[in-house]
Structures are given as structure tokens and as C-alpha cells.
Chain length 227, copies 2
DNA sequence: TTACGACAAATTGTCGACACATTGACTTTA
DNA sequence: TAAAGTCAATGTGTCGACAATTTGTCGTAA
């Protein structure tokens, strides 16, 4: 499957390619979460030297997909419930702010474009009545565009560059296909309306509630599973 | 000068030491902002191989202190006004959230400890009537402890690990010794009171206003300079 | 004179080998 | 038997050298 990758530039160097490959394998769980990474082993697997592999590992660490300890080695991060909720907290804060900024920074054409995309998503949702597509690609795409609309490079870099793949990893590995799609779609519409009205304060509040609702939904679901 | 470094672990490997050295030199401006980094040159300067230096560069990139382009090289980030304001925006969002969390997550003992520290800062401030110390170390220390109090590892990592040194760099290079210290001190006290009252909502609002006030102060100052 | 292209110098990316630290198993000793 | 110490094996950190790419210079042609 060919994922979109917001902040990516074409993989020019060998380390880039190894990085992308490993990224996909970690996100999709082919390299197991929590597992130890053996540099010699993976270097042989990808047919590159250890230096090149280590370069790739450095970028994976930048994406928070692996953790390194000096003189010990690297491990793939573990997908814990605590970690998932922590990311939602960070997203609530940052994407809320991004939304506030987008309300004043986004161009009218961008807003119109995003409205068109939302309409398409809505039709497709009803068409196939399948939640998966919307929840996966569509949701990410909406959030991605709002973040870009903030026009704040630090914000964009953190959300689209450093946290993006970790979010995808959690989505993949926890198998998130909750029945929140319809409600989420309506919330997206309301958020976009606030942006179109140039009401930054409201836009931020709605985005924060939107993300907080997802978080609480997960909390409920998980504590129900543990009963 | 020996800076405190929140999220640091003792430098065990040589790359660690080179990283810390370069970090200080970049933050304090000895390595000029915006300047190009020559790997062979710096490797010779620090008496290490290029591999080790590149390892250090990778960590500097993680702190947003340098930027790399494939097949071209690394540059120290530039300190622009736009960049400074962008960081304040990110801090407003993240530290605001951290403060909200701290209001429920911080232990009573931690709060008491922080209150004691604030008192000391207040006395020292009046004692030497110098703004510099408080503004530099004390302010960073207060914010640092609140962030730690959030008990959210993602939040702590981003603020204390990735953005911390960039903030210090801006403070150093823009020479921030504004007369906001007294007001900032009072604001800190109010924030801490909200945390002690376990009022997360208020704590977040106060922290956001506190950081936003600093940002607006800088905006005023800078547009006054440009007149 | 300007624009284009080839060449040379310098820099970055990649490689394989060595030095060092950690881990686990085994031996020794209380 | 248990605890501590030793040693080997594995893996990470570091090094120097080679390969590939970029950049600036020079020369040629329009």
C-alpha cells in the first residue's frame, strides 16, 4: 500500500530508501513493536553497510519510531495505551493551535478547495458506507491540510514530520476503525466553517473537542475491553 | 557558563561530547547562525572522525539547531523574528496543555517545592534588582518544572528535548533581558496557585496568557526597533 | 557579452575494519 | 548453594578510505 507522506521529499540517498522501507515495516507491524534492532542483521537484510543503516536509524529516531540507548542498541517503540493517549493530548494542543492560526492564515482558495474535498469524502462515505477509507486517509488528509494552513513551520514540522508516522503506527496496530466516522465528518464540517468565518477562537475550540472526543472514545473502548 | 540541561543524560560517548560542545557554541553564537557547516573542518577542529561528527550533527538536527540537505550539507538555523514568534506559538499551545495536566498530575510535594523555589527567586530578584538571572535561569526553571509535572512523556520530550535549546539560542542571540521579569514573576505565582487549586482549565489559560504576553512584548519591541 | 557545457576541486554519502563496551555463561570461592 | 569474579561472544562506537554528487571555474560557441 502506498501511503501519502506529507512532509516527505523524494528519497535521494540510499539511507533515505532504507529509512522509508523500515518506516513502512514498523508502522505496519512487520517489524514488531518493542522488538530489538540488530544493526548487523538489518544491514545484511537491506544490503547496505552499517553506516548507512545507522543513518536510517537516526531518522527513525527523529520520527519517534525507535529509541536508542548508548552502547546498548535500538528498540522499536512500544504501542501502549498510555502512549496513545499522550499523543492525542499533544495533538489536541498543537492541532488546536494550528486550527486557530489557519482561520486567519488560510487563503480563500485553500478553504474552498478543502470544502470541495470534504464534500467528496462525504459522498464516498455514503457511497460505500465503509468507514475504513474515510477514517484512514480522509481524516488524515483533512487534519494535514489544516496544519499546513497554519503557515507555522515549527508546528508543521512537529505534526507532519515528527509525529505523523507515529500516529499512523498507532492507527495501524490498534486497528482503529471505530464508528466515529459520521460524527467526525460533521465535526470536520463545523471546524471548516469556523475557519471560513475567520473565527480562530471557535476553530481552535472545535478542533480540540474533535480530537478530545476521539481520545475519550478510545478510552471508553479500551476500558470496556478490559472488563 | 554551565547551563542546566533538562532532558540530558551524562555524555557517555565521544559523539555526545562533540554534540554538547557544538550545542553550546551554536546557542551562544560562537558558531554563527546561518553559517554553513564543513564536516572535514569541524572533524579536524574537534579531533574526531567524520563519522563521529556526523553522529553529533544528527542530534543537533533533532534539536532543530541545524538543517541538512542531502548531498549539499548542513547549516546552522537562522534566528529570524518569524521563527522566534513561531516558537512562542508552539510553546503557548504545548506549555498551556502541560500546565493543565500538571494541575492534576503534580504531587503535593512537588507543588510545595516549586512554591519554595519561586519564593527564593522573588527574594533574589529584589536582592540584586538584576533582571538577567531571573529571566534566564529562573524562568526556564519554572517552565521546566511545570512541563515535567505534566507527566506526559511526549510533551516533555518535545519541549525539554527538542525545543529547549532552540529557545535558549533565541534568548542568547536576541539578548532577551526585557523588563518583564517582575510581571512574569507575578504571573508565575498565579499559575502555580491555579495548579495548587487543581484548576487545570484556569492553569492552562494563565500559562497561555503568560507566554502570549511575552510574545506580544517581543512583537512590540521589535516593531519599535524597526521604526 | 552572454549562455551553455565540460572539467576540476571539494564535499557528502557509503563502505569495511578495528576498538571498545555490554551481556551472558562459566568458574571459583566463601 | 549462592555470590562474586573472569572470560568469551556479541554488538555498538569510531576510524580512515573510496565512491558519488555537487559546485565553481574555465573555455567555447552563439
Amino acid at each position: 500500500m502506498n501511503y501519502i507522506n506529507p512532509a516527505r521529499q523524494a528519497p535521494v540517498t540510499t539511507a533515505d530508501k532504507v529509512f522509508e522501507t523500515m518506516q513502512h515495516e514498523i508502522v505496519e507491524g512487520q517489524i514488531l513493536a518493542g522488538s530489538k534492532i540488530s544493526e548487523p542483521e538489518l544491514a545484511k537484510k537491506y544490503q547496505v553497510s552499517r553506516s548507512t543503516l545507522r543513518e536510517a536509524l537516526n531518522r527513525l529516531e527523529k520520527c519517534h519510531l525507535i529509541e536508542r540507548k548508548p552502547n546498548v542498541g535500538s528498540r522499536v517503540v512500544e504501542c501502549t495505551v498510555k502512549g496513545l493517549l499522550e499523543i492525542y493530548i499533544v495533538r489536541e494542543a498543537l492541532e488546536g493551535m494550528a486550527c486557530r492560526l489557519a482561520a486567519t492564515a488560510m487563503a480563500g482558495t485553500e478553504i474552498a478547495e478543502l470544502q470541495a474535498i470534504l464534500t467528496i469524502h462525504g459522498e464516498e462515505k455514503q457511497l460505500q458506507d465503509g468507514v475504513a477509507y474515510y477514517q484512514e486517509e480522509g481524516d488524515l488528509d483533512f487534519h494535514y491540510r489544516v496544519i499546513q494552513g497554519s503557515n507555522n513551520l515549527q508546528l508543521i514540522n512537529i505534526l507532519c514530520g515528527e509525529l505523523y508516522h507515529l500516529v499512523r503506527m498507532y492507527r495501524c496496530q490498534f486497528g482503529m476503525n471505530s464508528p466515529r466516522a459520521t460524527r467526525a465528518y460533521d465535526e470536520h464540517k463545523a471546524i471548516l466553517q469556523a475557519i471560513a468565518d475567520r473565527d480562530g477562537e471557535l476553530a481552535e475550540m472545535l478542533m480540540r473537542r474533535h480530537i478530545a472526543a476521539s481520545r475519550k472514545n478510545i478510552e471508553r473502548k479500551l476500558e470496556k475491553d478490559s472488563e
